[in-house]
Symmetry: C2
Subunit: 140 residues, 2 copies
DNA sequence: GTAACTGCAAAATATTTGCATCCTT
DNA sequence: AAGGATGCAAATATTTTGCAGTTAC
């Protein structure tokens, strides 16, 4: 327990994000999940917390390189933990995401490398997003 | 001009979608674009058309395999033309999309093949979505 | 002390459904 | 004729901004 808290503060400190109770609370929770989380889930998990503050905390975490966002489909944006090297204006989360059609979970496939594809002449690539849709191991 | 109209009707007929003026209008327009379109663009292009009808037309086109949807980012869903083989419950639009950070256009990279990546044991893959973000040839 | 964070309010944007009427097949 | 499409209305969901009070550093 204390380890998690310590880890949380460490992350916040490393990424130059002010340590506040709200941020500790949210990051603690996200660290225990091994799937991406969305705003609605966090709001349900912490009913006392203000929805807008959670929203802005996620945005801050994304901007500072603690979380990365995943666009899953016609629903809500999901957030998952970043690599350690991520920082402001610098994300290296180039792994695919798996979106389960049954349970709706978004799972980071961190061990899977996204192959670089050829883009047309004159185009500049900054980032890639890859989402695989199907049925996860627990639902299959 | 007549060629486009004929082509439009051909597509509608082939994909078993009833031919109506609204659908001809929208599909005609989409056929002339070589980038993905969104609901707002279509509404602006056809001010007399009902927004909800456009919305449902896009949904129908997607369901019947005429258009496929692209989730670009924290904005609106975009739609682009399908391959000919696409039909209800059967999409084969497995090409990457390029999202330009300057002009916001979504361009289908139809000639680029999405490499198949390894997914964990027990997972079943149904579909892939890949979006490359950067600067397009015209903006670079 | 200062800049940043929080909570409350409110708005802007996007997505979706109901229903009566009209149109395509 | 019958089932599907359209337009009007309205609801739901999602994302975003403003501002005053509070807090971390």
């Amino acid at each position: 327990m204390n380890d998690i808290r310590t880890h949380t503060d460490q992350i916040l400190h490393t990424k130059a994000v002010r340590i506040t109770p709200m941020r500790q609370l949210l990051l603690d929770y996200i660290l225990t999940q091994n799937q991406a989380v969305g705003l609605n889930e966090l709001e349900a998990e912490f009913p006392k917390a203000d929805r807008i503050t959670i929203y802005r905390t996620l945005k801050t975490f994304e901007e500072k390189g603690i979380l990365h966002s995943i666009e899953q489909g016609h629903s809500e944006v999901q957030y998952a933990l970043c690599h350690e090297e991520c920082g402001p204006e610098h994300h290296v989360d180039r792994h695919p995401h798996f979106a389960c059609e049954r349970c709706g979970r978004i799972i980071c496939l961190e061990e899977v490398f996204i192959p670089r594809v050829a883009i047309p002449q004159g185009f500049i690539q900054h980032d890639v997003e890859m989402t695989i849709k199907g049925v996860c191991g627990e639902c299959g």
